[in-house]
């Protein structure tokens, strides 16, 4: 849409709106972005699409940066226990992302421990165990069907006694409208607060970039039961753009901390707002 030498007319703005909507930015946000771009075009008397593209990308990058200071990357503190609680709907990529994160921190000489708190889904514990073996870190687990809270309890105790740097907790996928499963998540978080009160806790919502506007409901409802601190946007190696995160950061102050770009152990990257904004129009 921003092709060189293109005339900035109604057709241009229509096509821009279409591109934004097709990137899952959402109708309202797309309209707002186009309106603010029109305003800038008039105010700064912009005549070429290159300048306009940069203006729009800058605006989007700004919306994705949220409250700058505390929101750059996953917040890991030295010399204390860090706990990363990973939550999200079914199939979003939680378990795989945890495997990648374990590798990421392990290769940076951190002492990592994993907790297999998805005790429900078939072979979920086995799946995380394979990742633990690949990375070379321990996995705290119990039998399938056991209480997830009990696994989290054990994991917190183990992490404290082993002086673990980073404990990453895998949870079962759950749809946000399932009240009982949302309650279970609340309970898991309470156990973490109680058993590791001095820990630095990050609660990350894993979001599949192929998700549409339902991501908003996910962020809202998960956020009502646990204090979410960020998003991990997965499967960006596909053709989906994940534009819905623009609204999530801007409206809910939920920044994207990392992105998943494949199924391999190294396919995890830090989130760079400017790169993401640029990719929307690639």
């Amino acid at each position: 849409v921003f092709s060189f030498g293109r005339k900035i007319d109604e057709g241009f703005y229509e096509e821009l709106e279409e591109t934004l909507i097709q990137s899952d930015v959402g109708f309202e946000t797309a309209i707002d972005l186009v309106e603010s771009l029109r305003a800038r075009e008039k105010a700064e008397k912009i005549k070429d699409t290159e300048t306009l593209q940069q203006a729009l990308e800058d605006e989007i990058a700004k919306m994705l940066t949220g409250d700058v200071a505390e929101n750059q990357g996953i917040n890991i503190k030295d010399n204390c226990l860090n706990i990363i609680l990973v939550v999200g709907v079914n199939g979003a990529g939680k378990t795989t992302t945890i495997g990648k994160m374990a590798n990421y921190y392990n290769s940076r000489k951190k002492k990592v421990l994993l907790a297999a708190a998805d005790t429900f889904r078939a072979a979920a514990i086995e799946q995380l165990t394979v990742w633990g073996e690949r990375v070379g870190v321990d996995v705290i687990r119990q039998n399938s069907g056991s209480d997830p809270g009990a696994v989290v309890f054990d994991a917190c105790q183990a992490a404290v006694s082993r002086k673990t740097d980073i404990l990453i907790v895998d949870t079962a996928g759950r749809l946000q409208n399932k009240a009982n499963l949302m309650e279970e998540l609340k309970k898991i978080n309470k156990i973490i607060d109680r058993e590791a009160p001095d820990a630095n806790v990050e609660i990350l919502l894993v979001l599949d970039s192929g998700t549409g506007q339902n991501a908003i409901s996910q962020a809202k409802l998960f956020g009502e039961v646990v204090p979410l601190t960020g998003i991990i946007l997965t499967k960006l190696d596909g053709t989906a753009k994940g534009g819905v995160v623009i609204g999530l950061t801007h409206e809910l102050n939920l920044p994207v901390k990392m992105i998943g770009v494949g199924e391999g152990i190294n396919d995890l990257r830090e989130f760079v707002p400017a790169d993401f904004a640029c990719a929307l129009f690639a």
Binding site: I21, D24, G91, G93, A122, A123, V130, N214, T239
Partner: protein, 292 residues
């Protein structure tokens, strides 16, 4: 919801007489907004609204005492028509086993769904055999084996060092030898733009000639659903769609996108994680859900 918003749009018109082009355009804007909010893909919305507009400028709306209600009625009818009929029939081959293959993006619910469908067939008195064709995802084979055990349905597996094409071929031989009248093949999740893995699916298809290739689509999918469905259909010529995680609160517009771009029927709807949570597709319920 759309009905309320259209009421609002047309409320100011009562007694004004004839509907103007502007009035109809306002109504169409509401329809477009409702569908985009429901995650129906942009191009599908464009075509759909054009179709609705054609009817909306006709006498059924213009001469109606409640034009808002008329437009809602048209939208509902067109949606149901586009969604297709209630279609829960899996193919039945005259030369068993009937071969079913599940395909789709990562994490959409293929493994869970293939087991549910095998369970439905078993309850119908069939003798299904499941084949573990995902050699990439950690514990994927184990996952299918656990489900098979829960359902008392046999799972054919050759471990993760054998190619999926080979697994499918040997599973077919096994089904033929053991009198299984259905062979359901689970495949690894993959991106529609992954040339190598899409070729792998074409190779499996060529090897065992499935009677039913089902594309599994996540009900919460966004705008990209149209690209995924179109590509899988182009590459494999799918026979139907399975819509999963419909027990969530998503409007499910991806269903309309996938159906519209492929023209293939939605055969099943996943309504939960348990093995009994699979229902036939109801176009009228889906239409109502998409419209909010």
């Amino acid at each position: 919801n759309l009905a309320d918003r259209l009421q609002e749009t047309f409320k100011k018109l009562t007694g004004k007489g004839k509907l103007s082009e502007a009035d109809v355009n306002n109504a169409m804007r509401e329809v477009r907004l409702a569908l985009l909010e429901a995650d129906v893909s942009y191009k599908v919305v464009k075509d759909f609204v054009a179709k609705v507009k054609e009817r909306a400028v006709g006498s059924e709306v213009l001469e109606s005492l409640s034009p808002g209600q008329q437009v809602v009625k048209i939208v509902n009818e067109e949606l149901i028509e586009l969604m297709g009929s209630t279609q829960a029939k899996i193919a039945v081959s005259s030369k068993p086993p009937t071969v079913v293959m599940m395909v789709g993006l990562q994490g959409t619910g293929k493994t869970t769904s293939v087991a549910k469908i095998a369970n439905i067939l078993k309850k119908q008195g069939r003798r299904p055999l499941l084949a573990a064709g995902d050699i990439y995802r950690p514990a994927a084979i184990k996952q299918l084996e656990v489900l098979g055990e829960q359902l008392d349905i046999p799972v054919f597996a050759l471990g993760d060092k054998v190619s999926p094409v080979e697994i499918a071929a040997r599973a077919l031989e096994h089904a033929q030898k053991n009198g299984n009248d259905y062979l359901l093949i689970d495949t690894a999740g993959r991106l529609h733009i992954d040339e190598t893995l899409m070729q792998e699916l074409r190779d499996v298809k060529a090897k065992v000639e499935p009677h039913e290739i089902l594309l599994v689509v996540d009900a919460m999918a966004g705008q990209d659903a149209i690209n995924v469905a179109e590509t899988f259909n182009k590459e494999l010529s799918i026979d139907g769609l399975v819509l999963t995680k419909m027990d969530g609160d998503t409007r499910g517009g991806a269903a309309l996108s996938a159906k519209a771009v492929t023209g293939k029927p939605i055969k099943f709807v996943g309504m939960g994680e348990k093995m009994d949570a699979m229902e036939p597709f109801h176009p009228d319920r889906m239409a109502g859900r998409i419209l909010g």
